[in-house]
Amino acid sequence: MIELKSVCKSFEGRTVLEDISTVFENGKTNLIIGQSGSGKTVLMKSIVGLLTPEQGEILYDGRNFLNMNKKEKIALRREMGMIFQSAALFDSMTVLENVMFPLDMFSTDTYRDRLKRARFCLDRVNLGEAQQKYPGEISGGMQKRVAIARAIALQPQYLFCDEPNSGLDPKTSLVIDELIHSITTEYNMTTIINTHDMNSVLGIGDSILFIYEGRQEWQGTKEEIFTSSNRRLNDFIFASDLLKKVKDMEMTTREG
């Protein structure tokens, strides 16, 4: 479980995050949604420690990340996995070497065990046959799956995904969403996903936090989105005619 208490962040006097307090539970896919520039990425970077908030507390199962010393932070980071928007695979390494990397770096297992674990992770994301390829030789969707395999190699307790569906077609997006969701349940991880993909929101949003201009505007589940009266949330989620129709159909079904 990750708990945020009054997290604030600003850049050169401009407030980007204002008093964010929430709880991300484990075993659930926790989504952070909001318009571009609303502060989602800054919030995620603050949670993982790539940025330091000016104020507030970030608690990883009760352990305050911001009060930790360097050694403790490094130890905690080994419990984290992250999938970046660009996949961020090491392009000088093959797919297998990418997945092996965290194991080579931190695991005390033998080479055979590390290789076995890496192959298991690649099989888990259905990429067993692409092991010897380089990131530049595989598609964007496959790169994201390799990133997932690399992120789960050390069996992390916390998984962070920064817009995992960006640049992917709807079908591949669904595969990625489903994969993240099933892995979260399987390993009972605390998963936080930054997204503005409405399919993800309505598909795997166990818990959704809506950020508006750096403030926490709304929080609930994917079911509650349909009944929410928050105007900003409705304007954001049901911006397209298609989604408006989806909402109407959902409401009709519920009333019926």
Partner: protein, 247 residues
């Protein structure tokens, strides 16, 4: 001035993070071997080519423009050797390497920064500066004596080529000149200077690449800045080191 001081401070902080005990020695040596090939072995070709032709050209220029009937016949060989040993194979060769290796390092690290590969390392709990920069510095510093030696050898071979194939100078006179009043210390001067230059090239280029902010334009600018800054620092340090070592 303030910006320069700020950059110097950032450079020192980065070097502080770079020099530490590697997380896993096995991974360090793997990276070291990779960098040795990329930065060192892959530079042998250009070093050979440039040194050979410059050695030949120096020999021709000295023979045609400096040597006269009033000078001993070994002057050409003697001057060619002194130029190669004292300046070309260490300083000028490192200036050339600053262009090749420096831009390579800065653009590689810059691209890793903008594609979030460095962030990925940090999230994993890896000291990215130590993991990425230290093997580059270690590889270039440890391989530079080899490149300097190859450069000296190729330069002298180039001078001989003018004698064998061009007939510009007598090979015996050239050999006599090359051996005349030889001071072994001058070879060491070149190698000692090159250690400093290699450190400058690897560390300064890594700094510019590692601290890139933005996109492809920023990576290109970092690559140019790395080459310019390394070259200027090499020239300044050459002045001090030459005074220090040849006193």
């Amino acid at each position: 001035m303030f910006k320069a001081l700020q950059q110097l401070g950032s450079y020192m902080i980065l070097m502080g993070r770079t020099f530490g005990r590697p997380e896993r020695w096995r991974m360090f040596f793997k990276q070291y071997a990779k960098e040795l090939e990329q930065l060192g072995v892959n530079s042998i070709g250009i070093v050979l080519l440039i040194s050979f032709f410059i050695g030949a050209v120096i020999c021709i220029q000295i023979k045609l423009n400096i040597q006269s009937a009033w000078m001993p016949r070994f002057t050409t060989g003697f001057v060619t050797r002194e130029i190669m040993l004292l300046e070309f194979s260490s300083s000028i060769m490192c200036l050339i390497l600053a262009g090749k290796v420096g831009s390579n390092i800065a653009s590689e690290l810059g691209t890793m920064r903008v594609t979030q590969q460095i962030d990925a390392l940090e999230i994993m709990g890896v000291n990215s500066a130590n993991f990425l920069i230290m093997p580059k510095i270690a590889a270039l510093v440890s391989f530079i004596p080899v490149l300097v030696s190859i450069s000296i050898f190729a330069g002298i071979l180039g001078a001989y080529a003018t004698a064998w194939f061009g007939g510009i100078i007598n090979a015996e006179d050239l050999t006599y000149g090359l051996q005349y009043s030889f001071t072994e210390w001058f070879v060491w001067c070149g190698i000692i200077k090159s250690f400093f230059f290699a450190f400058i090239i690897a560390s300064v280029s890594s700094f510019f690449g590692y601290t890139v902010e933005g996109g492809s334009i920023a990576v290109g600018k970092a690559s140019t800045d790395a080459v310019v800054c390394s070259s200027i620092l090499i020239l300044f340090s050459d002045l001090f080191l030459t005074q220090l070592l040849t006193k």
